[in-house]
């Protein structure tokens, strides 16, 4: 009995190979439905990162460079938000955006905008935490040198961001990697509507539940390639940030 469990099932192996080949065919044949889902994913997550980054990095800078009452509490709160599951973020925004919710009049539920909002909420604490670490690691003399050389606070801020660019780039990539692969918030806020709010993770969840593994694996491969590319970039940037 135990032996039969440990023996690989030839039929299962064949099925996996066949499905993976079908997935690759789907991917490289330019299947419009598949590529539309990929495009929606990148568009939604790209917009979310673009919108979340400036305020998140500003908060990271303030936490790194200014000492004020409640600063440590804010850092702890942000760290707590890092571990909130995507589905909880989705549920919270769902309640806010639903027809009876306080923001129901905006009629954003089951739109790409709602998905963007959910992904902003997920990306924000990652950007703040990693941005804070990167900026805090930046030599304080950089800010002082910039200011004493006559830079305005804005120019000095841009200079500090430039000095800490490898760490900040790592923060952006990590946040993008997190939100493009999350399923909970996108499913609850977008509703997984074909041609509109169906992105890679929600499509994988749906196709898998239907037993259509080929498209799920194809999209999974896209996420894997994306994860590899982001990590390669991350290693590259982190390596550049190390002292020679």
């Amino acid at each position: 009995m135990l032996e039969s469990l440990l023996q690989p099932n030839i039929d299962d192996m064949e099925s996996l190979t066949t499905t993976t080949l079908a997935a690759l065919e789907l991917l490289f044949s330019g299947n419009p439905e598949l590529w539309e889902i990929i495009a929606i994913s990148f568009r939604v997550s790209g917009v979310a990162i673009l919108v979340a980054s400036p305020p998140a990095l500003l908060v990271a800078f303030i936490l790194a460079y200014y000492h004020f009452p409640g600063r440590r509490l804010l850092i702890s709160l942000n760290s707590t938000l890092l571990s909130v599951p995507a589905v909880v973020v989705g549920l919270t925004l769902f309640i806010l955006l639903s027809r009876q919710g306080p923001l129901g009049e905006w009629k954003l539920l089951f739109t790409q905008t709602a998905m963007v909002l959910g992904q902003i909420a997920l990306a924000f604490p990652i950007l703040v935490a990693m941005g804070h670490s990167a900026l805090q690691a930046c030599d304080r003399r950089a800010w002082e040198t910039a200011r004493t050389l006559g830079a305005t606070p804005l120019r000095a801020l841009i200079t500090i961001m430039r000095e800490a660019r490898f760490g900040l780039m790592a923060a952006l990539l990590a946040a993008f990697g997190r939100i493009i692969a999350e399923v909970g918030a996108s499913m609850m806020l977008g509703g997984n509507i074909l041609h509109y709010t169906r992105n890679i993770p929600t499509a994988i969840a749906l196709e898998s539940s239907k037993g259509e593994f080929a498209q799920g694996i194809a999209l999974g491969l896209v996420l894997l390639i994306l994860a590899f590319t982001l990590n390669a970039f991350l290693q590259h940037f982190q390596g550049k940030g190390q002292p020679a």
Binding site: A142, E144, T145, A146, R147, T148, G150, T159, E163
Partner: protein
Amino acid sequence: MTTPDQFQVHCLKKHYAKRQVLDDVVFSLQAGQTQLLSGDNGAGKTTLLRILAGLEKPDSLQIDLGTGVLNWRRVKKTLQHHALYLHQHPYMFDGTVNYNLGYAITAKLTKRERQQQIDEALEWADLQQLSYAPAKSLSGGEKQRVSLARAWLKRPSILLLDEPTSNLDQESRQRTLSLLETFKSDGTAMLLASHDPMHFPSLIDQHLHLDRGKLVRIDDQSLIESDQTHPNFRSTA
């Protein structure tokens, strides 16, 4: 903004925790004059310089710029415009020496005018050979020269120097001194914190000593020499 010939500092106080680092410090800086600031480690020399550069907030400070006494808040912006603080270990921005020098040029200039100013600064500090070198990889003496060249480009009224020759070899120290002489002859007021008064024999006009938060003026040159007996003064001969 006009450049005043004299900066008078009054009521400068600063404390950390329960320690009064600067206690009602009074002194003045004159254009073209260099004052040496000595004191034990932790006496508050760096704090004093950083406050005068507008980088650190004092408990109280009044500065007279020749237009009447102003409080710290009103004068901070003016100080940041007039004074330039040089760290003991100068910070180099990530980039070439050219980039670092260009950073100090805040005026709106054409690319050509900008490069011309950078070239002049490179020549002034004898850094022509290093213009495209990564600034972070320079030696301590070269970094000091880049930092002085940045200051030269900004042309401050007050130059605040924190141990400018510490950890420099004899040649680098001489080069730094000759660059500082240029600032002096150009009319820059300098306040120079150092443990080694004998490093700057021709540069110093007045010697101030910080002791338990109080600033003591040591006008007499013989007193500067006798002060070498202080345990923190190292002989470089």
